[in-house]
Amino acid sequence: MVRSVGVEESPNRPPDQAVTSGERAGEDDRALAARASGGDAEAFGILYDRYMAPVYRYVFYRVRNEAEAEDVTSDVFMKALRAIPRYEPRQAFLAWLYRIARNAVIDRGRRLASRTQVTFEDALTHDPGERVIDPDQGLLAGSDASVVRAAIARLTPLQQEVIVLRYVEDLDTKAIAKITGRRDGTIRGIEFRALGVLRGLIPSREAL
């Protein structure tokens, strides 16, 4: 099931992810963000508890290894903490965080003076944790996680972003369009092309 940013939750979500829903935690993101920008540190803490894992996953697939994913995730939340007084509530909080994460990944890539690269060894060193595999997602589900991750690293940054948000975070194209600042149709096109590239890089189940 596909979801929109920070609103509905997916039924196949792991338990900690279910807690991230605004409705279940009692107070919605906008109210918490307003309290945080007014000086309430604990309100920011609740937002962190809700969205740390999605941000980590978003970053994880776009950098080389777990250590880098942790570095960038720390950077994202530190930046969010400092920028929260400027947060505009008309934008979903998670979308705002993704935007910060996106810039952090791009900046890191620039600092490293080359595009983010993942080697097959890097991919193999990480235990991807709980695997939620939808048998209908033929191409991605039929392949080993490390192979998929290394293949994603071969995509352009925008293709990586779309694939991660679509197939890891389970967002719909509309939500991805909001985060990336592009049109819905453009996102579909990017997704289509990215899957085409992945198809060439990932051996199919039959081939295995």
């Binding site: 945080a36 007014g38 996953r57 620039r110």
Partner: protein
């Protein structure tokens, strides 16, 4: 669906701890909204009313045509400050600042041709406008939540302002009287700074460019280098981009290095060094000579 890696619990807790510690200093209680409103809106509104009053009384006409250093120029600046304060969107603010830099350049151009004594002040006012614009470009690009299009927009504003100003200043340098040349040269160096701080051309160029250039400029070495450029630049408006890249990297540095090195400073230093040395060496040599001749005798 793809695998969903989970962050380590240890990392999750450690980061939370750091954030909470940081939050105590970063998240300060905000003043009530009404106070902020007063600060953000009321003051510019009062200033706007004052400026409007002055403009309607006729002083504004003088202000509009004033040059930096003129008494009426302060009024013109006040009106610009109000315009800036009333612009809320960051992108629009950037464009206003770019326009203000355009105005300062136009004033420098007028001062150079009509009143060369006012040119240094106009050049300083231009430098100030450039600094404001560059700071705003960096601020917008540095915002962690700024999307890529905003960042790009900021870069575009900076790049197009720089391109335009380079063309104008090159042309001005060609036509302006000698008295205004220093001020124009100063403005040209400032123009080079209209770049985002992450632009590779800004960092290496900015530090060494300043000091040697100032000393070397009066030598007039760079003039022949720039003259053909002006001729080329003046005609097509779209072309300057190519020239811009080559210009700061190569030409001025070569001009600058050759200037100070070529200055006959080395010769005067060499001459005095030789003279005392020659005297000193000859004196002991003469003293020693008699002593060996004396020793066999002894």
């Amino acid at each position: 669906m793809l695998p969903r890696p989970e962050p380590r619990d240890e990392f999750r807790r450690a980061l939370r701890g750091r954030l909470m510690a940081e939050a105590r200093t970063v998240l300060v209680p905000r003043e009530p909204i009404w106070h902020r409103f007063q600060r953000l809106w009321l003051r510019p509104a009062v200033a706007f009313a004052a400026v409007a009053l002055l403009l309607t009384t006729g002083t504004g006409v003088a202000a509009a045509g004033s040059l930096p250093g003129d008494p009426a120029f302060a009024l013109k600046r006040a009106a610009e400050d109000v315009q800036l304060a009333l612009t809320l969107d960051d992108g629009a603010k950037l464009r206003v600042l770019a326009e203000q830099a355009d105005h300062r350049l136009a004033e420098l151009s007028r001062a150079s041709t009509e009143r060369a004594t006012a040119a240094p002040t106009a050049s300083a006012a231009y430098a100030e406008a450039v600094a404001k614009l560059t700071t705003a470009v960096d601020a917008l690009r540095g915002r962690p939540d700024a999307d890529e299009s905003k960042r790009e927009e900021a870069k575009t504003v900076a790049d197009s302002a720089r391109a335009k100003h380079e063309v104008i200043l090159n042309e001005l340098q060609r036509t302006a009287p000698e008295d205004a040349q220093d001020a124009i040269e100063h403005a040209k160096r400032e123009t080079e700074k209209i770049r985002p701080s992450d632009d590779p051309a800004r960092r290496p160029g900015s530090v060494p460019t300043k000091s040697p250039e100032r000393t070397a400029r009066p030598t007039e070495t760079p003039k022949p280098t720039e003259t053909p450029k002006v001729g080329e630049t003046a005609k097509p408006t779209a072309t300057p981009e190519t020239r811009r890249t080559s210009e700061p990297t190569k030409t001025p540095e070569a001009g600058r290095t050759s200037g100070p090195t070529g200055t006959p400073k080395a010769e005067p230093t060499a001459e005095p060094t030789k003279t005392p040395e020659a005297e000193r060496t000859s004196a002991p040599t003469e003293t020693r000579r008699p002593s060996p001749s004396a020793s066999p005798g002894n």
